[in-house]
């Protein structure tokens, strides 16, 4: 049982780890100094949350002794993040749309996890929600600004939305682990967040005068360890230090 909880924590942490890593790539490359710092702050918040999940997971796990092993020494197919988090930054429109679509999910998820009957998970959620409320405020603000901005910014935002939209549903698609943890009162079945998620996201996108894409097909597989072609590149960046210098410490 403890090992199952560890796996669940790793699934939760992987979204934060991979999105945090993606945002970290923008350090020094943001569109303006202020935005650069804001994105890096979000990245660091997410990595901080990852550490909380992985430290707890390492306590519970049969397979790992510490957080570094979990973060840096797994194979691609052992990562459980959703595809949305591994999408490339491309440009600021893609970055901010991806962030908004994740933040809204993240906020609903943590709000629910704050009722977990696992005290430690509850504590992690309660601490993280404050950070995530701000992330959402930031990304939502930019989606509205640029969607309802100039002609160029609107076109770019619409393009980004059309690209990223098909990765939203996976966030709300429950894995077997999600369902099991929900049954135990520990975790959340994201399917229960689905209605509220799309309602909230669509109302912001409409306010931003963006058109909501009508996709029939949505990506999936991340929660089962099947990743997009971008993922290998992320892992090589993320892991090379720990693989080149095993057990390296700061």
């Amino acid at each position: 049982m403890k090992n199952k909880i560890a796996k669940y924590l790793i699934q939760l942490g992987d979204n934060c780890l991979i999105l945090g890593q993606r945002l970290g790539e923008l350090c020094g490359h943001g569109p303006a100094l202020e935005i650069d710092i804001a994105l890096t702050n979000i990245s660091l918040d997410l990595l901080g949350q990852t550490r909380a999940y992985f430290q707890y997971a390492a306590e519970m796990s049969d397979d790992f002794d510490n957080e570094d092993q979990i973060a840096f020494l797994r194979k691609s197919s052992d990562y459980r993040n959703c595809h949305l988090t591994e999408l490339p930054n491309t440009d600021f429109a893609h970055t901010i749309i991806r962030q908004f679509l994740f933040d809204q999910y993240h906020q609903l998820l943590l709000t629910d996890l704050m009722n977990s009957n696992d005290e430690k998970l509850k504590a992690i959620a309660t601490k993280s929600i404050k950070e995530v409320n701000y992330h959402l405020r930031f990304s939502k603000d930019w989606v509205i600004r640029l969607g309802d901005g100039t002609e160029t910014s609107k076109v770019k935002m619409q393009e980004a939305l059309n690209t990223v939209w098909r990765y939203t549903e996976e966030l709300l698609r429950p894995s077997e682990l999600d369902i099991e943890m929900e049954g135990l009162g520990i975790g959340t079945n994201p399917d229960q967040l689905k209605e509220e998620y799309f309602e909230k996201v669509k109302s912001v996108l409409q306010f931003a005068t963006l058109e909501i894409p009508e996709n029939k097909f949505f990506g999936k597989g991340g929660k089962e360890g099947v990743h997009t072609e971008h993922f290998g590149y992320i892992l090589s960046d993320l892991q090379y230090m720990q693989r080149t210098y095993p057990n390296q410490q700061w």
Partner: protein, 95 residues
């Protein structure tokens, strides 16, 4: 979206309740909301503040540096304007 078009804002931060706001620095932002968000991200990330003020730099009125002689020098030889002869208890801080 060029930084050139974003006006400059001055940021003031109060580090603890009871203290006054101090000038922390400046930044670029398109409007007041963005200035406040940017100030939060740029100037309070190491837990520096409990309150932020932002004001667009063009709204600050400053004295003319070339006239600083007549502005400030007349006060420089009037030491009796400092209340240095009061004895202050040690416990008092922020004076």
């Amino acid at each position: 979206m060029s930084n050139k078009n974003w006006p400059l804002w001055e940021v003031f931060i109060r580090s603890k309740s009871g203290l006054h706001h101090l000038h922390a620095g400046s930044l670029h932002a398109a409007d007041a909301d963005m200035a406040l968000a940017n100030a939060r991200d740029v100037y309070t990330r190491r837990n520096e503040g409990v309150s932020i003020w932002v004001v667009e730099s063009k709204n600050i009125v400053a004295n003319d540096p070339s006239k600083s002689e007549e502005f400030f020098e007349p006060a420089s030889d009037k030491v009796y304007r400092h209340p240095t002869f009061y004895e202050m208890p040690d416990e008092l801080s922020h004076i």
